[in-house]
Symmetry: C2
Subunit: 220 residues, 2 copies
DNA sequence: GTCTATAAAATGATAGAC
DNA sequence: GTCTATCATTTTATAGAC
């Protein structure tokens, strides 16, 4: 659907002159690859299927990507990298005196919104992270760790502020939260429940699950 | 590691005489297939790799399974079927007057314990559910639905008893919980945190996330 | 930039010996 | 029950025309 992958797709041209169409084709290939990768898996991703969806012939892919591996690597990478950028931008928008739990709530809602918007990239990464070759995995893991670090800081701040219940192992709690969120792309059906319903329920469930105080009275 | 898959592995013999060794070989192939499938994905699962791990030659697989597809289908199927059996057995062990939330707590803990014990089958199913061919997916979905139904009833009972917070969409809350649990097999490292730490944190996080009353005072 | 033609490599499945 | 030998098919990647 949407043509994501601006992040790196841009470096295709060196002149910066009129590479518009070229960039578009590159982005179309990347989107097609995410689509196929999420549905067929790493080993099942055929260049022919990607080409068909991108409406080109398979060998044309080699004009934009050095190899099948390179293309897959970029799909895995770009999804999570953009997720982190999106989250960091959103957090910057919060007022400086926002409480740690407020920041976590925003992160939950922003993660879900973005994830479900680029769901092909999300499910491609989720389903294939444990199946891609070492080279690809290394680069993906590095990026996934950067994203995990953002969440780690959110949880650390909450813990220090005494907003995390004491009987929770912070690391385990964080992984449970991230799992609940990541998994949403696997089951969410927009025709069954709205995105708003999903985020509202997730925010409430997670806040109450983590929160030390049962229900602090503070409206404004 | 463990040789799971007794469920169907048993129907291999019709005489029931001395099929012990045969059953063992069949179970070894199934375990090996779960191992490879979880790491290489559906399309990347080579009969040669399965055979190597099962310590036989590839063509021997055809003595026990009609095709590569049949073998994969059984791996996908047996993991979730056993998970449901395990959960139903555990729930039967609860006293009849257990409160709905107590039943959910037991389900959380039993799901995690069993899932992490047969993690090859679990990750194989999770990672490949969206990637296998239609035939396999149909049968898997039917079994997954049966498992989901067990959880659905647990949540329905809690809702009717007023133990679920009103601002939660029950369906969404259930999927968030199941996602958090399913995902555990992807990140859990027994050398980093004990299984007890994981289940304890998960039970607490989920109970507080779902529970209507902030903290009802009732010890015994 | 994109296509057609093709070379080279890998794998599922069967045949048939033991 | 399990193995060796083999066929048919599929797919990545390159060469080279346009």
């Amino acid at each position: 659907m949407s043509s994501v992958a601006r992040t790196r797709a841009t470096q295709a041209s060196d002149t910066g002159r009129s590479a518009r169409k070229s960039e578009q084709t590159r982005a179309r290939i990347l989107d097609a690859a995410a689509y196929v990768l999420s549905r067929k898996g790493y080993a099942g991703t055929r260049l022919g299927d990607i080409a068909e969806r991108a409406e080109i012939q398979a060998p044309a892919i080699y004009y934009y990507f050095h190899s099948r591996e390179d293309l897959v690597e970029e799909v895995m990478w770009v999804g999570i990298a953009q997720m982190r950028e999106h989250l960091e931008d959103a957090l910057k928008g919060l007022s400086a005196d926002a409480r740690p739990m407020e920041r976590i709530e925003l992160a939950v809602s922003e993660h879900l919104t973005h994830e479900l918007e680029i769901s092909d990239y999300t499910t491609a990464a989720i389903r294939n992270a444990g199946q891609v070759p070492e080279d690809i995995k290394r680069r993906y893991d590095r990026e996934a760790k950067r994203y995990g670090d953002v969440w780690h800081e959110l949880f650390e701040a909450a813990r220090k502020a005494g907003e995390l219940r004491a009987d929770l192992d912070p690391m385990v709690a964080r992984m449970l939260v991230m799992g609940a969120l990541s998994w949403a792309a696997e089951w969410w059906n927009p025709r069954r429940e709205s995105l708003a319903t999903v985020t509202k329920t997730a925010v409430s469930f997670i806040r109450n699950g983590l929160q030390a105080a049962p229900d602090v009275a503070e409206g404004s």
